[in-house]
């Protein structure tokens, strides 16, 4: 477990800018490891299900989600920054 934690410290993870995100779920569809989930319903009054990173350990930091996001709402950051966000 500690080995995995240290490995993950070296890898970036996606963080979402919900001012830009349109909840289109394109990121979920392209994630090869299914580590994103769309269940964040507290962003707007519509109760739209916005995406978030469901599993830090599953994510390998490939950044496909960030590259494919049509509105550039995803940035890749180090795990410490993710927790802070």
């Amino acid at each position: 477990m500690s080995k995995m934690m240290s490995k993950n410290k070296l890898k970036k993870h996606p963080v979402f800018n919900y001012d830009l995100c349109m909840a289109c779920k394109e990121c979920l569809a392209v994630c090869p490891l299914s580590c994103l989930v769309a269940d964040k319903t507290d962003v707007d009054s519509y109760r739209k299900a916005y995406p978030r990173l469901g599993s830090y350990n599953e994510c390998n930091g490939c950044s496909i989600c960030a590259k494919d996001c049509p509105v550039n709402a995803i940035t890749m950051v180090l795990p410490q920054t993710v927790k802070a966000a």
Partner: protein
Amino acid sequence: MKGYIGKVLLVDLSTGQFDPQEIDDTVYEQLLSGVGLGAYYLYNHIPAGADPMGPENILGFTSGLLTGTGSFMTGRWMAVCKSPLTGGWGDSNCGGNLALAIKQCGYDAIFFKGISEKPVYLYLDKNGPQLKDAGHLWGMDAIESELKLIEENSGKKIPSVAVIGPGGEKRSLIAGISNDLGRYAARSGVGAVMGSKRLKGVVLAGTKGIRGEQPDEIKKISQAYAKKIRKANWPKMIKGGFIPIMGKLMALPKKVGPMDGMLSAMLFKKYGSIVNNTMGVVNGDSPLKNWSGSVKDYHKKYYKKVNPELSIGRESQKYHCSSCIIGCGGICDISDIKNGEFKHTHKPEYETVCMFGGNIMNSDYDAIHYINELLNRGGLDSISVGSVVAFAIECYETGTLTRDETDGLELTWGNVDAVIELVKKIIAREGIGDLLADGVRVAAQKIGKGSEKFAVHAGGQELPAHDPKVDPMLGVVYCADPTPGRHTTSGGMYYRSSSLWEYVSWLPKFKKELKSDEFIPSDGEALKNKAMTAYKMLVDGSGACYYGMLTGEQNLQLFQYLNKVTGWDKSPDEYMDIGIRIQNMRQMFNAKHQVDMTKFRMSERAIGNPPIKNGPVKGLTLKIDEMIPLYYKAWGWDTTSGRPKNATVEELGLNTILTDSYFYE
């Protein structure tokens, strides 16, 4: 990469063999992907006269050309086949996440022919296809089946799944195909074809990346579109109780003109299709009492109980299909209904609410949510089941069916408890349910005794919940489209919000004009209908969404998306030619299979024979027999039979991409 893969997979269920096939670029350039690719493939590979439920029929799952390219509102897939319901071209469009999953497996479409000896499902990932045993899933409902298939096949990637329920397994002609736990490709009897092949499901777990030619340009279009949609919000202070007033106001003007598509976006973002629950009742759009009633029968005391706010109140979250930025769907909590038999259901669409609401004189909205989940699990089309239930009620009310014949069910208007039992019987094909499980046309043929007049359909397809006497263009496509009885092809309201006249050189500028002109058969109205239909074929070839289409071309920018994704430099006129080609291909399929398209004429009461006595459409009878030949003429089809003429087929170059001998004129 031009957005498409250039490859399809053919699965022979009789032999268990897989045949990956290359598709030439010219096919995409002439017909796009999605419905166009489907029409091309099925036209060429299904022999004339094939039994829709036999091994020669081909069932296809097609993705859109724009799907997965970073374009918005382009995540729709289509099921295509020869329809057992109409005997001709069959297709059904669906959201969810399956479209992209098809492409991620390395194919634009997956086709199935033959019939498996035992129930099977297809599993497909980067290692290739496998047919797996589905014996343990046969008989299981669609939702449970999907969950089980996900559980059994989840590796690093959680798969996307399409399945049939018991309705499809029992080859009910009104069965559909489910994905994403209850989103349906419901029409044309596509689920019956899947059941006839003993194909329980399709499980897709590919991870292939999809790209367009100019990703930065695609992003620019998407970002501009997103900005507009983000700003399109329905005022919070205007609640659902105001919607009927809006409906009345909308019915008042004597003139109609271009509409701002962003109004639809606002309403769909908040409510989804159910915004029409009450609006449709007061403006005459909703069929009531099996198409024989009006708002005088289903008055405020009834319709206020299907106020869309009640369903919104049940939403635990909004639901978006892949690449959707509107989010018309919702997941509703129904754990308080019927002792918590089901926890959730997809928010029932307007069509379901109307067919199980006003059309059967029911206003118990909770019961409609429950029926919605019964049908999602059972695997049947809620429009067709609602229609056949209304038919059965009218048969019972008029003494055409006795209580013995309804298995003791008291099928009176609004008796929703009896309706729930009837729906269960239809899913299970038990007793009276077996009689009704193949739709209204078959049921009327079996019952006889004049019951045909209660069976509302066009060519065997039950009509949707939109009265063509409000929108005559709808009526024409109900009767003259290759898939009759469908509201998602073309209509006057769609045209008014499309802005197509700003892009297409052969369309006259559209300004305000008399609403009454729409009711006068004319070449001008037929041309609008042709243009809207051709554009919709582009939408379906791209994998785009009908609600995206309703925001108008100036917002969706489909022509630009297609150019940036493919790298082509086509004009709107050239794209419209593609749409015209697709529509001709669908119609040629019917001609090849010797379908008598004159039989697609919709039921008399939908036309207004006799006219409804009250409400917004009182006294109206559509001059449909004059409108249909004008529509055929606009397409270059024989004005009597509807068969595409030689000159039309050759002018469009369709004869150059057909590998089968073709049958037209």
